[in-house]
């Protein structure tokens, strides 16, 4: 068995310094288009530019194209597949979790006592597997969420946060409601990824309900398809008030926010 001990020591510490320092390694995030809104010469041009987006993440308002991060699924079509490629770049940022609540309310929910110990219950409501794989990475050396006091718990009775991934399939409706009801208060719901926020590419149909907000109130949204591990860490830290959530306008037409009460 000593080989394993030696192997563990030999590989050293690989864990990211985030949130103390920014993570600068490449390939940790799929990123979003940057430098938006972008102004075009005519309103027509703007709407043509926005039309390449399959999920309406790009929106044309007058002569401007704006990005709604919660709807972006990183298909790169606005970068690679338009006839005249749009001149924007993608940026590998990851601090993009947003909340439908005002920040004060979000901080009030858990108060100070949960800041170093938060237990998560993960619920797969039709996720493709990529979101879940990214959560698993949080438990592994590169991200190691235990160092920040986040733990995955096997029972909803011990859970503070319900992490929901997937477009909320009809068949998972009852298990989700049971798990949510079994959780003690204060409890929060984290909608993980584009699917849990607005249904993603699956949308609303006979089999899926187009996001978890159609069933239970959501406290924080993590855009991305899938959100990289650092974005999930950012969301969890924002939930207990250790960092600021990203500034993003979630008006009534925005996905996921309407039912959060």
């Amino acid at each position: 068995m000593w080989e394993w001990v030696w192997e563990g020591i030999r590989s050293g510490i690989v864990t990211t310094a985030y949130p103390a320092r920014e993570e600068t390694a490449s390939g940790v995030s799929p990123g979003f288009p940057t430098d938006l809104p972008r102004t075009f010469a005519a309103a027509g041009e703007a709407s043509v530019a926005a039309s390449c987006c399959p999920t309406e993440a790009l929106l044309s308002e007058d002569q401007q194209v704006v990005l709604r991060e919660p709807r972006c699924i990183h298909c790169y079509r606005c970068l690679r597949q338009t006839e005249t490629p749009l001149a924007w770049q993608w940026q590998g940022n990851y601090e993009w979790a947003v909340s439908p609540h005002p920040r004060v309310e979000l901080a009030k929910k858990f108060g100070r006592s949960f800041r170093r110990s938060l237990h998560l219950r993960i619920l797969d409501a039709g996720a493709c597997g990529a979101c879940l794989s990214e959560i698993e990475q949080l438990n592994k050396p590169y991200y190691n969420m235990h160092r920040l006091g986040f733990f995955v718990t096997p029972t909803p009775r011990d859970a503070d946060v319900l992490v929901v991934a997937g477009p909320m399939t009809e068949h998972m409706r009852q298990p989700l409601l049971s798990a949510y009801e079994a959780m003690p208060t204060p409890k929060a719901v984290l909608a993980l990824g584009a699917c849990a926020i607005f249904g993603g590419v699956f949308g609303t149909s006979f089999a899926s309900m187009g996001g978890v907000a159609s069933l239970i109130p959501v406290d924080i949204l993590v855009p991305g398809c899938p959100p990289p591990p650092l974005a999930i860490l950012h969301a969890l830290l924002a939930l207990i008030g250790r960092v600021e959530p990203a500034a993003c306008e979630l008006n009534s037409s925005s996905p996921g926010g309407e039912r959060g009460d």
């Binding site: 298909c75 790169y76 879940l132 006979f206």
Partner: protein
């Protein structure tokens, strides 16, 4: 050229053999471009043809595709065989007006069992002689008479789910003093995917296992109908995120076969690069899963490090950690320059060397091997009967790989080995994952050193009406995507047969007669995805 000619000959021979054997009563046609034989038969010849293909010709059932037209039900049974043999499609046309039943082929081909149940559940087609024609996709909240895949069902509206009067009640088979049933799922204690496993036992050993899937049923096939090809591409790519490139590849190849698009060789080579990178990453993740299930913490961490390094490598070179957004009908969307090719090649090599080191440690850890050896056995006969695919079948001595059987992209032009193990236990599956990862690393090194120059996509893809089958060897095994386009170039029917669906069917062989504590290990050594199964 000579190879092409002999291929044509062989195909004609096969067609003639079939026609002769059935006294010219069946209609046989060949398509050399797609390397397939289409046999139009009627219900009286179906069983005999199936038996001949399975028993005499050693073919395996790939997929059962049901299509609905105004007057008919069209059923298509897809068979594939040993390397260098053509796929055989059996077509069966049934009149909708006569309330007919379909002869079930499940009694002779077990592999068709779940596929027929799925067709029953989604279309309401009754398969006569099926041993157990019960729900598989629709859960208890579905009204009995509503079949979601029928054309007259509107899939865009919220589902018809009245409140459930009687929640799901599993039935017990094991009747003995002290017998009990242990449900596991649908929500698991960690980040596992939703599914329900009912384990029946009288004590320590699991006597009977009954899995229940489709908790994650998103109706991909239904919501694809009537959509444009580039929208369905998103569904094909994202219904199973951990094998997205393989599935988008199968979909794109189906569309390309319909539209008769010739791909530039650079596009095909890049597809191999991305597909093998995905296989490599998937296998590293599967190995991490096996280490985790045996609670070997250091090995789990080490494998987790390698998985994240593979993810970062993918992210750095393609933008996306899970290789989304790379495929499109006609080619790929992203080129790699020489520098990137070098980085990818050396990056994969570096990860592989660490993986080999991990493997050397694992195979000398007796406490780890004790949990895997002779646990979760699947014999070769069982694998063949149930038509298992991918690493699971290959670990049981059934070396079938679509990259060799029906080569696509440039696979016919590169040499690689399809590893095979005989024991069919958890350790054989682990060894196979290592060996396949090694092969992927080798293929990557080979192909990245001389990527053919040229365009990365065909100039134009003119959508035409028609239907075709696309296939790929996904990391978990063979996948078949059937696509039919209508006059407007929209998808009329999209059917997916995925390796997880095929392989979960044979899971009970591995899990039954083993102790409870072996169950998570057997599950991890299967390494299947419910998202891929449930669609």
């Amino acid at each position: 050229m000579a190879q092409g000619l002999s291929k044509n000959h062989r195909q004609l021979d096969l067609a003639e053999a079939i026609a002769k054997r059935w006294h010219w009563k069946v209609n046989v046609s060949c398509d050399t471009a797609l390397s397939q034989c289409y046999v139009e038969c009627d219900r009286n010849q179906l069983l005999e043809l199936c038996r001949w293909l399975i028993d005499d010709m050693d073919y395996a059932l790939g997929s059962l595709i049901v299509e609905e037209t105004n007057e008919n039900w069209l059923l298509r049974y897809v068979f594939y065989g040993e390397p260098d043999s053509e796929a055989v499609h059996l077509g069966l046309r049934l009149d909708k007006a006569e309330k007919t039943t379909v002869p079930s082929i499940s009694p002779i081909i077990h592999a068709a069992d779940w596929q027929e149940r799925e067709a029953w559940d989604l279309f309401g087609l009754r398969f006569e002689g099926h041993p157990r024609l019960i729900d598989i996709v629709r859960h208890e909240a579905w009204p009995a008479e509503i079949y979601p895949m029928r054309k007259n069902f509107d899939g865009s509206q919220p589902g018809p789910h009245p409140p459930v009067e009687r929640p799901f009640q599993p039935y017990h088979v094991v009747q003995a003093p002290g017998a009990f049933l242990m449900p596991i799922g649908p929500v698991f204690s960690d980040a596992a995917e939703s599914a329900l496993f009912l384990l029946e036992s009288v004590g320590e050993d699991v006597i009977r296992i009954w899995p229940r899937f489709f908790y994650k049923f998103r109706g991909v096939e239904k919501i694809a109908e009537g959509q444009a090809v580039d929208r369905v591409l998103l569904l094909a790519e994202r219904f199973s995120g951990t094998s997205s490139f393989a599935h988008s590849l199968a979909f794109c190849q189906a569309v390309e076969a319909i539209c008769r698009v010739d791909l530039p060789s650079r596009a095909q080579a890049l597809r191999i690069v991305f597909a093998e990178l995905e296989r490599f990453r998937h296998h590293v993740a599967a190995i991490a899963g096996i280490c985790n299930s045996t609670a070997l913490a250091v090995a789990t961490s080490q494998a987790g490090i390698l998985e994240e390094e593979a993810l970062r490598l993918s992210g750095t070179l393609t933008g996306h950690r899970y290789l989304f957004g790379l495929n499109k009908p006609g080619g790929v969307t992203l080129d790699l320059n020489d520098r990137q090719c070098e980085d990818l090649s050396s990056g994969v090599q570096a990860i592989f060397l660490k993986l080999a080191r991990l493997y050397d440690l694992l195979r000398y850890s007796s406490s780890f091997l004790d949990r895997l050896e002779e646990v979760g056995m699947v014999t070769k006969d069982q694998a063949r009967n149930y038509g298992l695919v991918g690493p699971i079948a290959r670990a049981s001595g059934l070396a079938r790989d679509l990259r060799q059987v029906l080569p696509y992209a440039l696979y016919s032009e590169i040499s690689f080995e399809v590893p095979q193990e005989e024991e069919g236990d958890g350790y054989a599956r682990l060894r196979l994952l290592f060996r396949e990862a090694e092969q992927s690393a080798k293929i990557l090194q080979k192909i990245l050193s001389f990527l053919p120059p040229g365009e990365i996509a065909a100039r134009e893809v003119a959508l035409k009406p028609g239907a075709a089958l696309g296939w790929a060897e996904a990391p978990r095994g063979a996948t078949f995507h059937w696509v039919r386009l209508d006059e407007q170039g929209r998808v009329r029917r999209y059917h997916l047969t995925t390796p997880s669906f095929t392989n979960w069917h044979g899971f009970h062989f591995a899990a039954e007669d083993f102790a409870y504590q072996d169950f998570p290990i057997i599950m991890a050594s299967f390494g299947l995805s419910n998202a891929e199964c449930d669609r």
